[in-house]
Subunit: 248 residues, 4 copies
């Protein structure tokens, strides 16, 4: 039996991509395309089991309140969630018969998996460094994703009881060894033509392990959204971050 899916914000650029993505899958059935001004009751009438919400901060809370109360699970890529909003959503999910909610800032599954796998590998290697590659019009360096990855690695190392990494550098040109994020060197490369890419390099005696992620296209969120749609029934309450769905 295919999972019945409704898409909110269905006429936006992202919404359209998700409508196409859902329609292409055999185990999913697109039952409603909703956009601003449409009646949410359509979702109930169409027996939607899961909705995907890529709308706006001013409409998402209303959407969630309605869907959760009707037992419809919600996969949410809309931005603007602060502590209060998250607390409110969590409250709603505690009602009897409430739908589950996944709110994720990043649905690029290769990027999220890189963080998940890197945290797992980190505890087995003596050294770890992160290199990220973006187009030269990017304003910040390193990228938020790379900083987040390095923080995850640093935390995993600490938990595993690993100490400071070896580095005999005595003489260096300023900046050569990268930015220091919780003890993990992070290097930012800016190359015309590239989109968004990240590489994590782990080293141990006689060997290295590299985990690399390449985004070739800004529309790389669909596979991660589909993972959310398929698994949300098994993740009760509110979950923040797609990574929770990707760990074994």
């Amino acid at each position: 039996m295919a999972i019945k899916v409704g898409v909110l914000g269905a006429h936006g650029r992202v919404g359209q991509a998700i409508v196409e993505g859902v329609s292409a899958e055999d185990d999913l059935e697109l039952v409603a395309e909703i956009d601003r001004g449409d009646d949410l009751q359509q979702l109930v009438d169409a027996h939607a089991e899961v909705i995907v919400d890529f709308t706006q901060p001013d409409s998402v809370m209303g959407n969630l309140e309605f869907c959760i109360a009707h037992g419809i699970h919600c996969v949410v890529g809309t931005t603007g969630f602060d502590k209060e909003r998250l607390a409110q959503v969590e409250e709603w999910t505690k009602q009897d018969g409430a739908g589950n909610v996944l709110i994720a800032p990043n649905f690029a599954i290769s990027a999220v998996l890189t963080m998940v796998l890197a945290k797992q590998a980190a505890k087995f290697f003596e050294t770890a460094e992160v290199i990220e590659f973006h187009h030269p019009t990017k304003l910040d360096a390193p990228s938020g994703t790379a900083i987040h990855t390095a923080e995850g690695i640093a935390a995993a190392r600490k938990e595993a009881g690993l100490g400071e990494m070896p580095d005999a550098t005595e003489k260096q040109l300023d900046g050569a060894r990268g930015a220091n994020v919780d003890g993990i060197p992070v290097h930012a490369v800016r190359t015309r033509g590239m989109v968004a890419h990240e590489e994590v390099i782990f080293g141990a005696q006689g060997q290295s392990l590299t985990i690399r992620q390449d985004s070739y296209d800004r529309a790389s969120f669909t596979p991660g959204v589909l993972v959310g749609v398929r698994q949300i029934a098994d993740h009760p309450g509110l979950v923040v971050g797609l990574d929770k769905y990707l760990v074994l």
Copy 2:
């Protein structure tokens, strides 16, 4: 408190490397170096908690029987274990106060982790291929490790309900799409100068994830042996394969 470690086969090439590896770690203490002809009682006298055995098929069973019976855990890289031997070792570990045993054919932690992480990632991607790189004096293609990796990916895909991979190839030169291992293409590159390297490439809409392992040196088993030594107290009975120690 440092873990007290004894090394069997301590005068061999591998044994020497392990002796050095153990000696270099603060949380491990080398308490005995045993080689052919030495009395195993030394291990008991030195209060060894874990032994590492890289000896020969003709001596390893005697070593294990003695150590297990004395409650000493055994990390074993010696070859020659068939079904009967494994059954016998398992039997020994069931005695009261018995030591635990890890028997692994491959201690190269980056190679073993590549398999572990690849199995985990496999279920989230539409396509997967494996490329392995070795020196041109290698006799078999693809390598056993690459075949094993591909089998693990195929099994993970099946478990996740993923079907056949897309491939529109209509016209090809013989061999261009690699060897087919359970539906996963595997390519073998033979390059002078290289040692042993493996790359797993996963693809999904707009993105890819690559896990790559490089062995620069045949003596890359030490870090994996140390993982075994540190964790064996938490893995009761007989465990075959280092991968069981690397999964979360």
Copy 3:
């Protein structure tokens, strides 16, 4: 002084990209945008020094005859040139005061340079292999570019007196060692999400050299066209293939 450039086929998708590309450069001046039905005389009136022609096989010969006769150099990406057409164009370039012509089937400068540099490196290494990566909707394997690259490497090896490459493989799964193109193994990987990528791996004792090209976007012809525009005045007569412009 900026080079005065006219674009033919200026309203097509490729033409538009070139119009934008020319306009963005300080040392180039866009002086005419011509499309089907427009009078070529505009090019002369605007003092165009170089034209770029991405039009159709049915119009390109007329365009070239006119421009060459008026001493305007022609950078041509239009397809459909057979031996007779090339001979005719060459004939035209021999007139007094004729414009120069560059006809190239591939303006992706990273792909063309990969071939140029690979040919140069080939003669210094014992082994060479090619891996190409494309999306899984590609019909042929390996790609034409990869085959062309392998042929170039094979020719360079032969010229340098290098013999057959070492390969001790005795036991293999069918296809593991790739397709054989003039003695060079070529492997084709099909990964969802990728666009067009190629890797050439050279090996010698204790070391390897890798040249890799990534196309992230089908519209990657512009930089190569600009190289043609800037250099064409220095390449008299007819030149076929951008590679002739990229060698030192």
Copy 4:
């Protein structure tokens, strides 16, 4: 006819590797193995056409004076050449019937070729960055080779009239964008297990080109020495740097 080769410093570690390397080649014939105290006249008696000198600063000048005067070409990896010594050697090569000389600080052919090819590619790309990877016991960052590579790229860009590279970075963690070597960002990664590796990344609209060099083994000088031995007869006088032999 095989080229007759003598090795000076033949009993040293490097000398031994070169003796083996020469012996393994069909087109070369090892005719003399000389070490400290041996009579150089042996070289003449054995009709050596080329010698390879990996000796010491205190003996190399005597060796060169003798060989050059006897019309024997000299491939030299010995260190300690300053301006005066180079001038003296050049003087010697100007005699009638003098041998040619190649003095090179680096015979790792993949590293030297990376510099040569990078300089060639540099003029066709909008951006260029260098990443080098070494073991964590290295004292300087970036490596001398990486700095030298970046300087070569910067010079090639300048010669081609390319301006400053685009970089919109407004907000950065200190060091994220690497060290600045003549305007080229250079990043130094320190990974346990790695030996010496360098990557040059060029970017243009919609594409990138990467040239990567891996040294897996400190004994990677042999292939470069053999290039020197084979080509030295065609390079009259004194040449400093193997790169002069690698350009088309």
